[in-house]
């Protein structure tokens, strides 16, 4: 797949004018990282093509996991949108391949129709973080796990089968709990609603899964 094809298939770059996309693609390179901290090269935004990880925030001298990222997610938006250093980091949980886009080229296209599309894209990211923060403040461990599984499940009639986006340590990071707490929460899920074997999840009944959650009508996922 060429860099132009890659940009054409991923939001929000798919909304670029064809000529702009080709221009950016000409200055886009691919690079791989092993599991561990990812140091993006200066002047580059990363688009994850495969692999998964977490974005991190520095707190008390340690990187703390903020959100899961996987194929299709962009990292390093702060470089494009702000003159200040980007405080968010990236930690790959698996080997990762990134398309590295030129920050200067993206910045030059903010003041145009693409900027409006990018505002919508960033708004969706903000809402996701807001949902996560609300869950951390207001929901218990089992409710957070049930909501998360419901939210990442593919659409369609039950039952559906899908893989967890990362290992259990990654899932624990995303949900803001220790691995031990996650294990206890997994054990408290209704086996008639969901089964989990390794990373493989079979969601049998969304309504039953969310029955433990007083804030969601049965069957309603984000």
């Amino acid at each position: 797949m060429t860099p132009d094809d890659i940009l054409a298939r991923h939001r929000p770059f798919d909304a670029l004018a064809a000529a702009d996309r080709a221009d950016l693609a000409a200055d886009t390179a691919l690079a791989g990282w092993p599991a561990g901290p990812v140091d993006l090269p200066p002047g580059r935004l990363g688009l994850i093509l495969d692999g998964s990880g977490v974005t991190t925030w520095p707190l008390d001298g340690q990187p703390v996991a903020v959100d899961l990222v996987a194929a299709g997610d962009g990292v390093g938006w702060g470089r494009v949108l702000s003159d200040a250093p980007d405080p968010l980091g990236l930690h790959a949980r698996t080997a990762m391949t990134l398309a590295l886009l030129p920050v200067a080229g993206l910045r030059g296209r903010l003041a145009g129709p693409w900027g409006v599309r990018l505002a919508g894209h960033l708004s969706a990211r903000l809402h996701r973080l807001l949902d996560q923060l609300g869950d951390l403040r207001l929901a218990g461990a089992v409710e957070r796990l049930a909501r998360f599984l419901c939210d990442i499940a593919p659409p369609g009639p039950d039952p559906v089968t899908f893989d967890l986006p990362g290992d259990r340590a990654t899932l624990a990071h995303r949900l803001g709990m220790s691995r031990e707490t996650l294990s206890r929460a997994l054990g408290r899920l209704d086996p008639a609603a969901v089964t989990i074997a390794g990373r493989r999840v079979t969601l049998i009944d969304r309504g039953a899964l969310l029955a433990t959650d007083p804030d969601r009508p049965p069957g309603l996922c984000r």
Binding site: V54, T55, T56, W57, L59, D60, G61, Q62, P63, V64, A65, V66, D67, W77, G78, L81, S82, P87, L88, H91, R107, L110, A111, G112, P113, G115, V116, L118, A119, G120, L122, S123, A124, R125, L126, H127, L129, L130, D131, Q132, L133, G134, L136, R137, L138, A139, A169, A172, H173, L175, G176, M177, S178, R179, T181, P214, D215
Partner: protein, 234 residues
């Protein structure tokens, strides 16, 4: 709602969001802005997002509610900041409720009119996108704090931030309501009382009124052993 005064216009012109505009474009945009002297609920969680706001004076709390009665203050927005842009340009509904403290003065920017206006004034977009990014970093910091800091350290960090911003004087009683403070750090009022008792016993807070100073709070927040119950380090 009233039209902006000369003072309001000067404050609006100083906002990063509008700084890139030339005076003529600024005058055109500001003509559609309405000023609200707000107190109490501004909009509800889930309401259609028809406008975003700039705080000219006072404070607005952004509050997340749950159907079971839970409530948490996601953040407080003060003078010179804007809020709800993401709702206007995103899902079209406010994901939080907004509550203005008494004495708050706001500029209401109509969402649909601004979206139309932006199509001819794209030079504003970088500042709008920067505002959205700033909000994303604030949320990321809050999420990291919730995941990695125990409630007593979240309280100390929150108090320290107020002292460092200068909106609370050292060695004076906490000026706000305790239940709002509890909602802001994500604990129940009862849990907050227990935390305060413990911090008073440890000498971090003075007995009664939460009075303290930055030195004591920084010492308490200095990196120590891993906390219990949080996620493992990355």
């Amino acid at each position: 709602m009233t039209a902006p005064t000369a003072t309001d216009r000067a404050r609006l012109a100083a906002l990063p969001l509008f700084a890139a505009l030339d005076p003529a474009d600024r005058a055109e945009l500001f003509a559609g802005i309405r000023i609200i002297d707000a107190q109490g609920r501004l909009f509800g969680q889930g309401d259609p997002a028809d406008a975003f706001y700039a705080v000219l004076a006072g404070v607005v709390r952004l509050v997340r509610l749950s159907a079971s009665g839970g409530e948490t203050v996601i953040m407080e927005v003060g003078p010179g900041e804007t809020f709800a842009e993401a709702a206007v340009f995103g899902r079209g509904r406010y994901p939080v409720a907004a509550e203005a403290r008494a004495g708050t003065r706001l500029a209401r920017v109509d969402g649909a009119a601004t979206a139309r206006w932006l199509s001819d004034h794209a030079e504003v977009l970088p500042a709008l996108l920067a505002a959205l990014w700033h909000r994303e970093t604030q949320l990321a910091a809050e999420i990291a704090t919730m995941k990695a800091r125990a409630p007593d350290r979240r309280l100390a960090g929150h108090l320290l931030a107020h002292l460092e911003r200068g909106d609370w004087a050292p060695a004076t009683p906490w000026p706000g309501a305790r239940n709002l403070l509890a909602a802001r750090i994500g604990v129940t009022p009862e849990a907050l009382s227990r935390i305060v008792r413990r911090l008073v016993a440890e000498g971090v807070l003075d007995n009664g009124g939460l009075a303290t100073d930055a030195t004591r709070l920084r010492a308490f927040l200095a990196p120590g052993p891993d906390e219990k119950g949080g996620p493992d380090p990355v």
